[in-house]
């Protein structure tokens, strides 16, 4: 079974991103294919490499990065949503003359079409958050 996920809420502010993470772990453990996770709206904050929660709290951004490394996941943040919210990769930072960038290495930045493509090629597209 080919899955894709859409994540619309920011981590920590809402439980939805964590729910998406747990769902992802479960589906991968069951041997299903994960085509893509598309982070949109406030969900793009899942892609920041600068989140620094206290040591004794769960670090969702790190958890996504570790999962992506282990399973070679396609984690995509929506470019228009991310730029508006100050989540940039190296290339976008240069393009807009910003002094720094914050998108974690395991994430890519791409257009909304990647959400539609995921809906088109996946057997199931599951949304988390709003």
């Amino acid at each position: 079974m080919i899955f894709s996920l859409a994540v619309y809420s920011a981590p920590y502010s809402s439980q939805a991103s964590y729910s998406a993470y747990r769902f992802t772990v479960a589906l991968l453990n069951q041997g299903h294919t994960l085509h893509r996770i598309f982070f949109y709206q406030d969900g793009v904050h899942n892609g920041t490499s600068l989140a620094t929660p206290p040591q004794d709290e769960f670090n969702l951004q790190n958890a996504w990065q570790n999962l992506a490394k282990h399973y070679q996941l396609d984690l995509v943040v929506c470019i228009s949503a991310a730029l508006r919210r100050g989540v940039l990769n190296d290339g976008e930072a240069k393009r807009y003359n910003k002094t720094s960038y914050n998108l974690a290495q395991e994430f890519t930045i791409s257009g909304l079409g990647q959400l539609i493509e995921a809906a088109a090629v996946s057997d199931r597209l599951i949304s988390f958050g709003y």
């Binding site: 619309y8 439980q15 939805a16 069951q30 199931r124 988390f128």
Partner: protein, 78 residues
């Protein structure tokens, strides 16, 4: 024949409590053949496992994944 299911998760799990505002609607749906589930970690996290209506199934994430396969279409009502 209704073949729909509802999964309560996150703060939605408070709906398992028989006195919840949505409890009557849920019970009426169950009577019509809808299966109602609640995500057990979200239930236990909120300390309400003992308060659950008996005809609501408490399930884990593995079952959550399986439900999205068993039911052809999935709509998130956030």
């Amino acid at each position: 024949m209704i073949n729909d299911g509802i999964l309560l998760l996150e703060d939605g799990v408070f709906g398992i409590i028989p006195s919840a505002p949505c409890a009557k609607s849920l019970q009426s749906l169950i009577k019509q053949g809808v299966t109602v589930y609640a995500l057990i970690d979200d239930v236990k996290a909120r300390g309400i496992e003992a308060k659950s209506a008996v005809n609501i199934q408490l399930i884990d994430y593995d079952k959550f994944v399986q439900l999205t396969i068993d039911y052809r279409r999935v709509q998130s009502w956030y």
